[in-house]
């Protein structure tokens, strides 16, 4: 309103100032979104085939086609606190891990930009991260304890494929009851270990030997008497199923994003 009384020069001056403020603030806000990314304040587990983090963020077009094809709905899109990862797919293994129940790496096939690289063809070649026994003190196997009942807390709806029950439809993990003398859920339900055993039995997934993992992913190593240590091996792809199926309130085994296996 007040603008109307002003002369031309003053109007132009004000418009210029306003415009400068607009330009700097919008650019500033867009740059502020770089901060969480550059400080790596929220590292995320990425879907199979994700390129190196920087290139992954650069090439992802944030369309969510990977979200749409995942049969266990493991993929979510980042929010404001992810900075440049806002709108970019990630997996929260504890909520829902990738169990490869799609067999063909559907998210990789769906990706229109190759952010999830199309060079990845077979499940055992995936490298999302590496599992780590983060809390040996609480691990039931280490304590020589068994496990009885449903794996996760009431109301939990995460899913897994139970091959022997239903090959085509993933089931809620809480639909199963367990009674184990020594808790070995992280080994027993590891999708790579299941594949390896299928291959050993002469029934590779999809009848394709390329689907056979060349290495063990995880095994229980006997420590003494009745105590066992879940040990992560070279074949681990970091899918996060072990983190999801650990029955403790705080999982004793977690995934370190983008870490690769090496002999220590």
């Amino acid at each position: 309103m007040s603008d109307k009384k002003l002369n031309r020069a003053e109007k132009a001056r004000r418009e210029f100032l306003r415009t400068t403020v607009l330009a700097t603030s919008v650019t500033g806000i867009s740059l502020a979104a770089l901060i969480p990314t550059l400080t790596n304040s929220a590292p995320r587990l990425r879907p199979p085939g994700a390129l190196d983090e920087k290139l992954y963020l650069a090439s992802c077009i944030k369309c969510g086609q990977c979200v749409q094809v995942c049969p266990v709905e493991a993929i979510f899109l980042g929010d404001i606190f992810d900075g440049q990862g806002s709108g970019v797919p990630y997996i929260d293994a504890r909520v829902q891990a990738c169990d490869f129940s799609c067999d063909g790496l559907q998210c990789v096939l769906a990706c229109p930009t190759g952010s999830l690289t199309h060079d990845l063809n077979y499940v055992p070649d995936t490298r999302m991260g590496l599992a780590r026994l983060s809390s040996p003190k609480t691990c039931l196997a280490v304590a020589g304890k068994g496990f009885k009942g449903k794996i996760r807390e009431e109301g939990y709806s995460g899913k897994l494929r139970f091959d022997e029950i239903d090959r085509w439809n993933p089931l809620e993990i809480n639909s199963q009851d367990y009674d184990l003398e020594i808790c070995d859920l992280c080994v027993r339900l590891c999708p790579l270990e299941i594949r390896r055993l299928q291959c050993e039995a002469g029934k590779p997934p999809q009848n394709d030997k390329n689907q056979c993992p060349p290495y063990k992913a995880i095994e229980l190593v006997k420590k003494d008497n009745n105590r066992y240590v879940p040990t992560v091996l070279q074949g681990c792809v970091g899918c996060g199923v072990c983190e999801m199926v650990c029955p403790l309130p705080e999982p004793a085994i977690v995934i370190d994003e983008r870490v690769e296996w090496s002999e220590k």
């Binding site: 309103m1 603008d3 418009e15 210029f16 306003r18 415009t19 607009l22 330009a23 919008v26 650019t27 806000i29 867009s30 740059l31 979104a33 770089l34 990314t37 920087k54 290139l55 963020l57 650069a58 090439s59 992802c60 077009i61 944030k62 369309c63 969510g64 086609q65 979200v67 749409q68 094809v69 899109l77 929010d79 404001i80 606190f81 900075g83 440049q84 806002s86 709108g87 769906a110 229109p112 930009t113 190759g114």
Partner: protein, 352 residues
Amino acid sequence: MSDKKQKKPGFFYCVGLMLGKSVSKTLKNDISERVIQIYENKPKGAEVIKLLKAEKAKEKNRKNKNKWRNRRWGTLLFINLLFVVSYFFDMSVLEGALTASRFMGFHMADLNSALQITLASKMILINLVIGFVTVLIMWIIFGGRTFCSWVCPYHLIAEFAEFIHLKLAQKGIVSDHAFNRKVRTVFYIVFLLLAFLTGYTVFEVISPTGILSRALIYGPTFVLLWVVFLLMIEILYSRRMWCRYVCPIGLTYGFVGIFSIFRVNYNINDCLHEGDCRKVCLVPHVLEWTIKNRSFNENQELGPDCTRCGACVDICPTNSLTFKFKGISREKYPCNDPEPKNNKQKIKVDKK
């Protein structure tokens, strides 16, 4: 400039207008004598007011007053809901979001997103190229910034914000603060440079188009607060700020609009120059021809910045503004339709 063979306005003038150059007065030397004649024969003074009243009275009785707006809103909602429905019912009709999708299996990519990603990743991604070309061809046919008004969900919400803004402005509670239009070009270059230099798609993260499209399909996120913030500014401070002064997506599709065959055409014969069209327009500079003595030709196309929303077509009391597909052969200038060669109506003008 006095070259008679040169059709005015030229390519650079029209593109310059989109990039933020201000409208310059049309020189009488540049206008064809026929057009001068038409202007001179126009009704003047009280007669114009009488005619306007008559036309507007007719207009009031007309059904379908918002024909193009309704079609546009319908299309916009249909496309955006198709994404939602397709995912919800797992139909594989239109998968993805507005930034990239598959329509019946065919790749589509938002031109601006594809550009940002190519610059940030410094890779040529084959599926992205396929999607880019498909969408490019689509908008060359349907009109460049048509994406903005017929597809972009932010445009629709911003229209409601604009409605509130205008209501409040009428009551004197708020007023519109214009920015210099050149700032959009500055933003365009800044965001391209930022993508290239930082290696991150900096703009994609703050783009309300992508944010809204994803929120519709995958559920609400906290980033929506940014969109709300933008809308508040548009209501309280500056009318349609984002679409007018910031959005690089709009400019990318504007560039496509240069070559597009779908246009709004302005015919000067019946125009009463009352300027209703410019009041409803998101980009009023494309309607400068409707100011008296500004049009170079009898038929003048609106420039590439036009979003083909049809608001001017709906409101024009004299049907001087119409949609048209032009022949590809004539598509030489971004905002100028040379007079047809064998125009039967062409009258000879006596030189005075």
